[in-house]
């Protein structure tokens, strides 16, 4: 039978290939050696191909690619970017990180999710390799002491959470004494924010009703989660529902479920749900750790907004990743300029010394790291989704 032969063949080749692989490099991260003086490679971990947050992942990837191109041009370096999809999934992130550490990359950008950083932080620490995240906001990541080589260019939830909570209180998004429903998706990121916001809101006299759903559910199962939450938890006393999730799509679906059941409540999302393409329930508030620079006047912001078109659509979520990548790129070039080899340890040291002025940074604040890798500056951003479903930044916080 012919197929048998095919099969025998296929196996022959696998044997053959398994020998060739040992000759050929089997790592996807090896830098292409170029002539330029300062040439090495870095890697980005983001959920751009699989998982629930692909749009956000792609956004991060594109901004990272842009940052690499811009920095190489500015610093005269030739640094390549290895891409690793993590699907926002700690176990995948662990595998990827192991292969990044095995590769020649000297530093990494990402990963995106707090739960991923929790998982891979110790690995990077062991490898003495700096990694800068543009979206992981769980406070413990820096404070736990387990992730000694972790940096982030975004304010953590101890800043975002209180900001949001206080805004809710100050601007009376819910009548005093009413019930606020807060739902987590059983991920570290979400649970962290809930833990920060709940006490503040309770102190302000709100009744906080904390529920959770399984963030990994899909389709019909997800729908029955949502419709049951909407029916059984959103009572007449509820005026505000806080959805600190990592999936804008889920937030949108939950919003629609509420509308369908005729429940008129205000939604309040956090950075994970900040996605103008997906989460567009009018009247919703969405906080984010990055500014919307699409209309900004500063030179660097203009350059980014202009440059990003080459790689993909503009989105506020990606901006911090541009910043994170730039931090790494500048660190490497500074090592080279100092005449040292861009080794992992040297780059790590240089990242620690990062000092980018507010004007040069896309974050609107100067980029300097505390000893634990957190940003010195504290800033949060808040958006309101208008009737046309577009995000409008709220100046007064």
């Amino acid at each position: 039978m012919h197929l048998r032969r095919i099969f025998a063949g296929a196996l022959g080749v696998m044997a053959l290939a398994s020998i060739t692989v040992l000759g050929a490099s089997s790592s996807a991260h090896v830098a292409k050696v170029a002539k330029a003086s300062c040439s090495t490679s870095i890697a980005i971990e983001a959920p751009f191909a699989t998982g629930p947050a692909t749009q956000l992942g792609l956004e991060q990837l594109h901004f990272a690619q842009l940052a690499v191109a811009m920095a190489n041009k500015a610093n005269g370096t030739s640094i390549t970017l290895g891409k690793d999809d993590t699907g926002l999934n700690p176990s995948l992130a662990t595998t990827r990180t192991n292969s990044i550490i095995a590769s020649k990359a000297v530093a990494a950008v990402g990963p995106a999710g707090s739960q991923e950083v929790e998982a891979v932080g110790p690995l990077y620490a062991k490898a003495g390799m700096a990694f800068v995240s543009g979206s992981a906001t769980l406070p413990a990541l820096a404070t736990s002491g387990a992730n000694t080589t972790f940096f982030r260019v975004v304010p953590d939830d101890d800043i975002q959470g209180p900001n949001d909570a206080n805004y809710i209180i100050k601007h009376k998004l819910a009548p005093a004494g009413s019930t606020i429903l807060i739902i987590d998706d059983q991920e570290a990121y979400s649970e962290g924010l809930v833990a920060v916001m709940t006490p503040i809101l309770t102190a302000a006299g709100f009744t906080v009703n904390h529920q959770s759903y399984n963030g990994t559910d899909t389709g019909a199962t997800l729908q029955s989660d949502f419709s049951s939450l909407a029916t059984s938890q959103v009572t007449s006393a509820t005026h505000l529902v806080i959805v600190p999730w990592q999936s804008a799509g889920n937030a949108q679906q939950f919003g629609q479920t509420l509308q369908q059941q005729g429940k008129t409540v205000t939604l309040f999302g956090t950075d994970g749900t900040d996605s103008p393409g997906q989460f567009i329930i009018p009247g919703t508030y969405v906080s984010n750790f990055g500014p919307d620079i699409s209309t900004s006047k500063s030179a660097v912001d203009k350059a980014i907004v202009k440059g990003i078109k080459k790689y993909g659509a503009y989105g506020a979520f990606g901006v911090p990743t541009w910043e994170a990548t730039t931090v790494v790129m500048n660190a490497i070039s500074s090592v080279c300029k100092a005449g040292k080899t861009p080794s992992r340890s040297n780059v790590l040291a240089a990242v620690r010394k990062t000092n980018i002025s507010a004007t040069a940074s896309a974050m609107g604040v100067p980029i300097q790291f505390k000893a634990d890798g957190d940003l010195v500056a504290k800033a949060g951003y808040l958006f309101h989704i208008n009737s046309k479903g577009t995000y409008v930044e709220i100046a007064d916080k």
Binding site: H2, I6, T94, S144, Q186
Partner: protein, 478 residues
């Protein structure tokens, strides 16, 4: 008296069917000539060679080697239940997971307070491994007892849900301790006193030793009364029962042994990854383990191990653009050699493909230069050779690649339909489209391509050789 000749002729007919001509036949016969213990030695030597010479400090190679051995061990365990006892256990993954989680609980801060990474229980390997193995062994016993009520597909169904329930459980139950979707990390590796296995290579060696010992023990078990009882059970439970074999007891034994092996693998896996997540024990992993077993040949120890090698290496190769290219073109060439006979036709077809390629490239180029401005996805010396052969538009737009992909699938289906000279003719454009599709699209997403290729390999294997590589053809009375 019936003439012996007739009788013997009937008796040997089976053998005659098994005889293969040519290289494969010789290989098969050679394979039979090699005894069991030499084979074990061979496996050991290969493992030694790989670890000592080839890995050479490259963590990636060490990781690959480790995965190979890990999957081989898992396949061995599955082989006890599925291959020998013939119980279709789709909940096997739960035993693997339980082993890993139990190890994790006793080697991390799970029992302390997780966010602050303090407190917790850190047992030495000599304690934690036995705890995991015994615990999971009992679990296997339990599932086995439950399974006594069920047979055939019903068993498969229930065990499938046991496996799913496990993943759901570790995801949702006691997130404070089991870590929920975030899993448990920062596990301490295998350690006794101050000695600790720190490197991937270290775990590779550990796993290799476990594998070799398991192979030996399981072989001895297979050729003992227990092994015979299991295989008798697989062939005919009722006859087995009547022939003095306590079927229920033997079934439960099979589950327990399978569970123990899986648990052992689980502890090694957890210690090496230094973390566990419920997603590590998804249906995907289960499918891969089954792929190893079925590809290698259910019922054969050597088969299970070979399956582990093939599946894991294939995945590793596919995950990197360069190596997956070797695999892709290798398979393409072999398929042509195997399918197109005699060699004159083969030569003709190959020549036609090359000509077709350059012609198409030239024509398209003449029409629009942009349409061929892109560079092939695979690097290495291929790229140069292919530059003037494949049509890859500038910036290789995804839509183009996607169209090719769909076209390729349709054409492959078409080719299978055609026969004789028509097929030969149809092969030419099909192969060309396949190459273009590979260069323009598939190499861009190695991860996805790997999954697709694995799926294809499974289908082709089952169609070509249901008994697997080293498995023996089985008859089933239905």
């Amino acid at each position: 008296m019936a003439p012996i000749g007739v009788d013997e002729w009937v008796a040997r007919s089976g053998d005659r069917r098994d005889q293969h001509s040519g290289l494969r036949g010789q290989l098969a016969r050679a394979n039979e000539r090699v005894g069991w213990w030499p084979r074990l030695l061979l496996v050991g030597l290969v493992a030694l060679l790989y670890g000592k010479v080839i890995v050479g400090g490259n963590v990636n190679y060490a990781q690959t080697g480790f995965n190979v051995v890990l999957y081989a061990i898992l396949a061995l365990g599955l082989n006890i239940v599925v291959g020998w006892a013939g119980l279709l256990d789709l909940g096997y993954i739960a035993f693997f997971g339980a082993g890993a989680y139990i190890y994790a609980l006793f080697s991390s801060h799970a029992f302390g307070n997780l966010p602050l990474d303090t407190g917790g229980v850190l047992l030495p390997a000599v304690a934690s491994i036995p705890i995991a193995v015994v615990g999971v062994g009992l679990l296997g016993l339990l599932i086995g007892l439950v399974a006594l009520r069920l047979s055939g597909d019903y068993l498969a169904i229930v065990t499938l849900f046991v496996g799913q329930a496990f993943a759901e459980a570790v995801n949702n139950v006691a997130p404070g301790t089991l870590g929920g979707a975030n899993g448990l990390f920062g596990l301490k590796g295998f350690h006794i006193g101050s000695a600790i296995i720190g490197s991937t290579l270290g775990y590779y060696w550990f796993a290799v030793i476990v594998l070799l010992v398991l192979m030996a023990l399981l072989h001895l078990l297979d050729t003992s009364r227990t092994g015979r009882a299991w295989r008798a059970l697989r062939d005919d439970p009722l006859a087995a029962e009547v022939m003095t074999i306590p079927v229920n007891k033997v079934k439960v034994m099979a589950f327990t042994f399978g569970a123990i092996v899986a648990a052992l693998a689980g502890t090694i896996f957890a210690a090496q990854q230094s973390s566990v997540f419920s997603t590590n024990f998804s249906a995907q992993t289960l499918i891969l383990i089954y792929a190893c077993l079925v590809l290698g040949g259910a019922g054969s120890i050597a088969g299970a191990v070979l399956g582990g090698v093939v599946v894991t290496v294939a995945q590793q190769l596919l995950s990197s653009p360069i190596d997956s290219a070797y695999l892709f073109y290798g398979i393409l060439v072999i398929v042509l050699i195997a399918r197109v006979r005699p060699w004159q036709y083969l030569a003709a077809v190959v020549a036609a493909i090359v000509a077709f390629g350059f012609a198409a490239h030239a024509i398209v180029g003449a029409i629009s230069h942009r349409a061929i401005a892109g560079s092939p996805g695979s690097s290495g010396w291929f790229a140069g050779a292919l530059r003037h052969f494949v049509i890859v538009p500038a910036g290789s737009p995804l839509t183009y690649g996607n169209v090719l992909y769909v076209a390729m699938i349709c054409m492959v289906i078409g080719v299978v339909q055609l026969h004789g000279i028509r097929r030969l003719v149809a092969v030419v454009p099909t192969v060309y489209v396949a190459i273009c599709c590979w260069e323009a699209r598939l190499t861009l997403d190695p991860g996805i391509t790997a999954q697709i290729m694995i799926g294809a390999i499974l289908i082709v294997t089952m169609a070509a050789r249901p008994e697997g590589l080293l498995g023996t053809r089985r008859v089933e009375v239905v």
